[in-house]
């Protein structure tokens, strides 16, 4: 929704929050429900109500638990049946510098005494995080500390060990170290946020004394927006690809009119430098695993010529797909989505031309098209959009662009073969399909949260839950990795089944769309059945839960040879497979380098 899109107007959001909420709820969208516990060291009601808007706008429907005023620590540390029953998916701890209790301003304090105080303050938090992690096994989002509003020692406050700034900075570093060592723990960086917003505007003493607000009302949307970006990312709602315009977006000028030599990019003029920096920023996004594509109204020859400019940072090689033609941009975006096997809503359209953005927005409302106003603000606009908030980062992210490129090569290869099976055989595919391993848990969690299309139950898991399943003998849990002559696709499939007596109930079956139509699902089934037989199981029950996005697997179990047991009016179906006389189905992938193909 426009009013909630960066750069938003805080006072508009605050004033119209009821209206906005009503409008968001009226939209008939598939939403995921999440339980979010807010443990506050100050008043949190407004934070929850604004956070709700940003989350609803991203199809996440939050249900909130809020601790009584200032009771964050007690709520976390002592028996709390209310929170237990609530079963949080996320715990957000809203503490601020107001909650620092161990700092004492005394120039006589020794270095040891100060260090002791910092440690003591830190362990107050650390014991709480550990207790929460143990009890609830869910993601924890923790504020760091903002800088104080006054400095007794003036500029020396930051470097003198007696200063509060020194205290806060060291405490923050300890928080970051905990984040580095604990996967399901995320810092909500209010230190950065408040600095960017302006420390004087960030907090308002009147609001503190009157209502115990640690930050001013107008800063709350900023805070809520920042938290929502982390939550979005945790639940796999990051964007995956950029569709970039060329003329006046990646360089100054129009290549078709001005020619390569007339383009502004490089170091010669201020404008050229700004485009250079923007291209560098985009290139760094690519290194974070964001897929780059071009969507430009140009002749392809001119587009490629522009990308060969001697001072260009981005070259044709950096883009997985280049659509330079005169078709409508929304059509090109749909084609890009199709070729990458991702949903259009995973694409961000970057174009300086408001008319093009308008057309794309009107025809593809799910595609984000941020306002790119003038080149010097491009980076800021994209950077604050929260499209690519990093909460997990796997090896897979690093090599994603290469994988998509390999996929395009596969498409070309396919055209050489008469039969599809010949093509698959020629790919020389090898798969590793095994029980979960600790090193892959992060990637497995990531897949469970972002796979929408090839996903039978769309059950989302937190890292804690996957850890539990990994340790438990009550589950058969397989990951599948697929490689071929063009490259390694990494972990692409996950199956989790719960054993009850002699039956396996499949709680999760997903596969990355990157490897559609490669028969990987058959290889997974074969291995799953093998595992079941080793445990003397006799049948498998599969569940298909219909969502707006997983129609492509509605008949997967049928294709597998399952029999339909029941179905309901929501389109959900229960399937059963008798394991007697099961015959392996995969004929094209060598699994676990065990044997040659039949």
């Amino acid at each position: 929704m426009q009013v909630l899109t960066y750069p938003f107007d805080s006072s508009e959001i605050l004033k119209n929050r009821k209206k906005i909420k009503k409008q968001l709820l009226q939209k008939n969208r598939a939403r995921i429900k999440k339980n979010i516990a807010i443990l506050g060291g100050s008043t949190t009601n407004d934070i929850a109500s604004i956070l709700e808007l940003f989350l609803l706008d991203n199809d996440i429907e939050p249900i909130f638990y809020q601790s009584e005023y200032g009771q964050y620590w007690q709520d976390a540390m002592f028996d709390n049946s209310k929170l237990d029953d609530f079963k949080p998916d996320i715990i957000y701890i809203h503490t601020t510098s107001k909650n620092i209790t161990e700092f004492e301003f005394n120039m006589k304090n020794s270095a040891e005494a100060i260090e002791y105080r910092i440690k003591k303050q830190y362990s107050h938090f650390e014991t709480m995080w550990q207790s929460l992690a143990q009890k609830y096994n869910c993601a924890i989002i923790q504020n760091n500390f903002e800088m104080p509003s006054y400095r007794l020692l003036g500029n020396k406050d930051v470097s003198d060990i007696h200063g509060k700034l020194w205290f806060i900075n060291l405490l923050n570093i300890k928080f970051y170290e905990y984040a580095q060592n604990n996967n399901n723990f995320y810092i909500n960086d209010i230190n950065y946020l408040s600095a960017r917003y302006g420390l004087d505007r960030w907090s308002d003493p009147q609001y503190w004394y009157l209502y115990k607000y640690a930050l001013s009302l107008s800063a709350i949307p900023e805070l809520a927006y920042n938290i929502s970006n982390i939550i979005k990312s945790i639940f796999g709602k990051n964007k995956k690809a950029l569709a970039l315009d060329l003329d006046n977006t990646l360089w100054g000028g129009v290549v078709g009119d001005d020619g390569q030599a007339g383009l502004e990019i490089g170091h010669e003029t201020p404008v050229a430098q700004a485009y250079h920096d923007f291209q560098s920023y985009i290139k760094q996004l690519k290194n974070l695993g964001i897929t780059l594509t071009i969507c430009s109204k140009n002749d392809i020859v001119n587009a490629l010529d522009g990308l060969k400019h001697p001072d260009t940072v981005l070259t044709a090689d950096d883009f997985v797909i280049i659509k330079a033609n005169w078709d409508n941009k929304d059509e090109n975006i749909l084609k890009i989505a199709d070729e990458l096997n991702i949903l259009p809503e995973s694409i961000v359209f970057v174009d300086d031309n408001p008319a093009e953005r308008e057309i794309v927005k009107s025809r593809l409302p799910m595609v984000e098209a941020p306002k790119m106003e003038s080149v010097e603000s491009y980076i800021r606009t994209l950077d604050r959009s929260g499209y690519f908030e990093v909460t997990t980062f796997s090896d897979d992210d690093i090599s994603r662009n290469d994988m998509y490129k390999a996929n395009i090569q596969r498409m070309l290869e396919q055209q050489k073969f008469n039969s599809y099976e010949d093509y698959l055989l020629e790919l020389k595919m090898t798969a590793t399909i095994e029980s979960f391993k600790p090193v892959y848990i992060e990637r497995i969690v990531q897949l469970t949260n972002k796979t929408n299309q090839f996903n039978l139950t769309t059950k989302r898991y937190t890292e804690g839950e996957i850890q539990e399943i990994y340790k438990s003998d009550d589950y058969i849990k397989l990951y599948g990795r697929l490689a071929d002559k063009f490259g390694d696709n990494g972990i692409v499939s996950v199956v989790i089944g719960k054993i009850e007596a002699t039956t396996l109930h499949i709680e999760l079956w997903l596969m990355s769309c990157r490897v559609l139509k490669r028969d990987m699902e058959y290889a997974m089934l074969d291995t799953l059945v093998k595992n079941c037989l080793q445990k003397n199981l006799t049948k498998i029950i599969g569940y298909y839960y219909k969502t707006a996005k997983n129609a492509m697997v509605s008949d997967l179990y049928e294709k597998f040879g399952f029999k339909q047991l029941s179905s309901n009016e929501n389109g959900n179906i229960v399937w059963e497979l008798d394991l007697q006389n099961y015959k392996n189905k995969n004929k094209v992938i060598i699994v676990n380098s065990e044997k040659e193909l039949v």
Binding site: S11, L14, K15, N16, D46, Y209, L210
Partner: protein, 81 residues
């Protein structure tokens, strides 16, 4: 700016905040008269009034204001300065 202007603008703010276009206010209107007027919306309301009239209530005023009439006289006073 006269009293009528202030009431007109205030009515608009009240309607936005409580998302109810039927709200009418007078000098006696207080939190007891509007269903959704809880402490949370009170903060929101004060903030929106301050923004609209480009003025600031003192902490004492915020904690002692009893009804819309008192709010209007504070706003009018501030506009004269």
């Amino acid at each position: 700016m006269n009293e009528i202007d202030v009431y007109n603008k205030l009515t608009e703010i009240f309607r936005d905040i409580f998302d109810d276009d039927s709200i009418e206010i007078n000098s006696e209107t207080s939190a007891a008269d509007i269903e959704d007027w809880d402490s949370l919306e009170h903060i929101n309301l004060i903030s929106a009034v301050e923004k609209t009239f480009k003025m600031r209530f003192s902490m004492k005023q915020v904690s002692t204001m009893k009804n819309v009439g008192e709010m209007v006289s504070i706003i009018l006073n501030a506009s004269k300065k």
